[in-house]
Symmetry: C3
Subunit: 139 residues, 3 copies
């Protein structure tokens, strides 16, 4: 049970969800681990991870709009604003979702539910390169 | 340190928190693991996990009401609505809580705090069968 | 790959974020683990964990204010109020952040991003002693 670690990176295209399920599945296959857990970690404070409905794009549109409304860019009381109006909302949206996520592996397969996909959630308005560290634990 | 995995399922009864602490503790006992971590994963996009105050039921009532108010069913801007008015709010409430949770094990016992219980959080209005995968890592 | 577990505790000073990155790094060093994962767990229902921007204090001020506004103390509909007006908001703020968090380890070093720090998030108004269980898995 030696941990298998791999870094992957994605160039985002402004705010929104990017599905990374296939990349993570590939790493699980490469690891040769049949039973255990795959752990994902996003090394940033304005991007996050989310397991979300991956069948219907309208669900993704709605959750992006929900966060735009819950944490609007133009809140006048933000003091942390020197990196632009999207920066502080990005940190808050990250805090409300996840920096790490983990999923069980059985028989070499990630045990995601039928409608679950793994998503990188970009919270900044401009494109960013985001690094995710994937660690497979098990045997 | 061979991972011990077990699936459990619960029939929910509409929105709300269901305590599953005892079921998870039983699986930790069955695993024989004395030191390590128990990991839980909910295979759904409209139910989630939450560690929450398990002594006073009024705290559970209040958090359910909080989510009803934060993510109301009748928001006119939802586009993902073909599965009913409770579906999109369910996905958002899941996103704001947790798909996976994990707790340390020491001396064969889950190290929950005095007031902590493990809860399955159902976000749909009608009963659903929910599957949770419990993985014990350690020795 | 024997799990290495250590409990650390902090005396908080009312609501706010306390950086604990250095303490966690020390435990990873003590464990001797070179590759794997460090897992942190807060044993309380009114305190939580958060990976957050650790460079600029104004970002911390803003997220504390965000939670003060999102979950105000004086909401008249709270029923769980016998422990004071800050108690129920504390449980909700905990539910919206994290009870457990985990970060990959590579070459004996925690793979935090440049701007990421590990924070204990106290949600009660008065000082509390908070216990965090740190578990290192790997080899």
């Amino acid at each position: 049970m030696k941990p298998f670690t791999k870094e992957i990176s994605f160039l985002t295209n402004g705010k929104g969800l990017i599905e990374i399920t296939q990349k993570v599945s590939e790493i699980v296959r490469q690891s040769g681990v049949l039973n255990g857990i795959v752990h994902m970690f996003v090394c940033h404070t304005s991007a996050s991870l989310l397991l979300f409905e991956n069948a219907d794009e309208s669900a993704r549109d709605d959750i992006e709009e929900f966060f735009d409304r819950l944490v609007p860019e133009d809140d006048p009381w933000f003091s942390h604003s020197f990196e632009g109006p999207d920066d502080m909302p990005a940190h808050i949206r990250m805090a409300l979702t996840r920096s790490s996520e983990s999923i069980p592996i059985k028989g070499g397969r990630i045990l995601l539910g039928t409608w679950q996909g793994i998503f990188l959630f970009e919270h900044r308005a401009t494109p960013h390169r985001r690094v995710i560290v994937v660690t497979v634990l098990g045997e």
